[in-house]
């Protein structure tokens, strides 16, 4: 019994049963049928590869660099970090009595604005220095550095 069309397809697919394979190995008729069925596929493979080789030869050898996904992710991470920083800084400064405007306008701030900001920060430093005693009453101790704006507050060790 010769192979059916479905069995010939099984062979082409790479799934022929061992018994059918044994028959095929011994049967010239089935081998001819198989060759007939396989020819269009082999011709398609060769002709399309020849086509693609010609087409590929017209393209630049090294693809134009585009930002990789990793770079894109880095960009998103930077944007996220910046958004997070603003999100944290604004409420903290607001809580401390500082307007958020100087922070947001850092890049475009005029000299006049910078001077006003510095004045305000000095006033805050002075206020903090003056409140050392009241801080101590809450179990906190201030450690002053040479720069008034870098005041560190540390917990008193009992």
């Amino acid at each position: 019994m010769h192979l059916t069309e479905s069995q010939l397809d099984d062979y082409l697919i790479g799934d022929l049963a061992p018994e059918a394979q044994s028959h095929l190995d011994a049967c010239k008729h089935c081998q001819a049928l198989l060759a007939e069925a396989a020819a269009p596929l082999a011709n398609f493979r060769e002709v399309t590869l020849a086509w693609a080789e010609r087409r590929s030869a017209t393209l630049p050898l090294v693809p134009a660099a585009k930002p990789s996904r990793a770079t894109a992710r880095l960009g998103w991470a930077t944007a996220f970090a910046a958004a997070l920083a603003i999100g944290v800084a604004v409420p903290v400064m607001h809580h401390a009595g500082v307007s958020s405007h100087p922070v947001a306008a850092t890049e475009t701030a005029s000299t006049e604005q910078i001077a006003r900001d510095n004045q305000m920060l000095s006033a805050i430093d002075n206020e903090l220095n003056a409140s050392t005693s009241s801080a101590a009453t809450y179990g906190l101790q201030t450690t002053l550095t040479s720069e008034p704006s870098r005041t560190h507050v540390t917990k008193v060790q009992n």
Binding site: I13, D15, F44, E46, W51, E53, L59, L61, A70
Partner: protein, 188 residues
């Protein structure tokens, strides 16, 4: 295969992947063929193929060496094709006939060592019939057909690349072959 042989194979592949020019020279025609005949738009296929090599080069550290480089590249190309399908950025095969692929000229560029003028004509005709049959297949069938009969991937590789059971892959291939046989038979 021993661990040492595995390690050598991964190292060889990694070296090959480091040289993008050699990588492109060796594999681009095959990737371009796969993408072109998957989507039916040669211009878009060029762009996707270039993306595929950039992606492969940028992600070469992730290549584990558990398949051939050509199979790995085909899998990357497949994902890019599917991304495009999802985003509907390209015209599907049936709508892309205006920019249809003309492979008939390519037959004259086939290696001449074995082909007479008659066999070239036959090759050209049969390739055109298969191409016509491909147009009638679903995107999945077309992809699977190309993986098997153009890229010569085996069933397990196709199943792994598509995350599809092997029996489903076989079913698609049987249907695709019936369609090809009908197209070639009608033409004769």
């Amino acid at each position: 295969m021993t661990d040492l042989q595995d390690s050598d194979r991964v190292t060889d592949a990694a070296t090959e992947l480091d040289d993008i020019e050699a990588l492109v020279r060796t594999y681009r025609p095959r990737v371009l063929r796969f993408v072109t005949f998957s989507i039916g738009d040669p211009d878009l296929a060029e762009s996707i193929t270039q993306d595929c090599f950039l992606k492969a080069y940028n992600g070469r550290a992730s290549f584990r060496g558990d398949c051939a480089i050509s199979t790995w590249l085909t899998s990357i190309a497949l994902n890019l094709v599917r991304d495009q399908q999802r985003l509907q950025k390209f015209r599907f095969w049936r709508q892309a006939r205006a920019t249809a692929i003309d492979v008939t000229d390519a037959a004259s560029f086939l290696p001449s060592h074995e082909s007479s003028p008659e066999s070239r004509i036959l090759a050209k005709e049969q390739a055109a019939h298969v191409q016509a049959a491909l147009e009638q297949l679903s995107p999945n069938q077309r992809t699977i057909f190309l993986m098997r009969f153009s890229e010569e991937m085996d069933l397990s590789e196709i199943a792994a690349a598509l995350k599809m059971p092997i029996n489903t892959v076989k079913t698609h291939l049987h249907r695709a072959l019936k369609s090809v046989r009908a197209q070639v038979g009608n033409a004769q």
